[in-house]
Amino acid sequence: MRLSIILFLIGLGGYISAHQFTPTYPELSLSYVKGIYKADMLLFNNRKEISYYSIGVFDKDWKPVKFATENRIVKMEHLERKTITVYIRKEDKDKALYICSKSKTLVDYAQTSIVTSRICSKIK
């Protein structure tokens, strides 16, 4: 099945202009700071027209959960791959369910229809 998917993707021309955010099911592990957990996420930008992504953490009802990361708005070059470490407090550890990345579009990007992509991973 996986082979057929790969062959299909190659058959489509091999060029993928896309947004990827992995892993699907990240695990929180203890960080070097006591009482703070972390998850390492990998963001890949293959969308030429997108240069910024926002990072967010949400609970089961999609309410924002407090978190820390190096930058909440991440600047990404085309074809750049970046590891994003998300830090969550011990008291929010059980509340946090989704870690999301969302493409940000510049206001002066004049096009009649724009696709905003958002990918959410589910914390194990």
Binding site: P23, T24, T112, V115, T116, R118
Partner: protein
């Protein structure tokens, strides 16, 4: 004498370097990839209407989802209900739209269309089959009661989400 002893060792080493392999490693893991396949364009068939429909002179945006593992994600696609950029509008805009499954790498993916759930301006598709699936988004904006849209550039956002289940 020493040079003669070193020579075979040096030749053996050269051979070892020439035949050394450089590994390329990779892994296939569960992931969702969202791709903009076709950018949408609004046509302006009448003064008070903007539409992505082909017979209105528009282009329907098409989004592709690549899924490696079945049932790991659901797709949520929302058609626009406001303009992200437009000239100043003094009257109300009536928005309509829809999202439909178009085509995919597996014939069973037609079930995405039958199993979709619509609410507000969003449509949810359970991605129960791995592979690539294409979705079309239609959008229409009608201004006031027979009022002409002011001249200018209009843009609206389609939101394509992939949420781990």
């Amino acid at each position: 004498m020493n040079k003669l002893l070193i020579l075979p060792v040096a030749l053996a080493c050269t051979g070892a370097i020439a035949s050394s392999n450089i590994p390329i490693t990779g892994s296939v893991e569960s992931k969702c990839v969202i791709q903009t396949d076709t950018d949408g364009v609004y046509g302006n068939p009448t003064a008070d209407k903007l539409s992505t429909a082909a017979n209105d002179g528009g282009v329907v945006p098409r989004i592709r989802y690549d899924i490696v593992t079945a049932n790991a994600y659901k797709a949520v696609i929302s058609y626009p209900n406001s303009f992200s950029t437009s000239p100043t509008l003094t009257d109300s805009v009536a928005w309509t739209g829809g999202v439909t499954y178009d085509t995919g790498s597996d014939s069973g993916m037609s079930a995405f269309e039958t199993n979709k759930i619509s609410y507000n301006n969003s449509v949810e598709f359970p991605l129960s089959i791995a592979g690539s699936a294409f979705f079309k988004v239609t959008s229409t904006a009608e201004y006031g009661y027979g009022t002409a849209f002011p001249a200018g550039t209009y843009s609206a956002m389609v939101t394509a989400e992939c949420i781990a289940q």
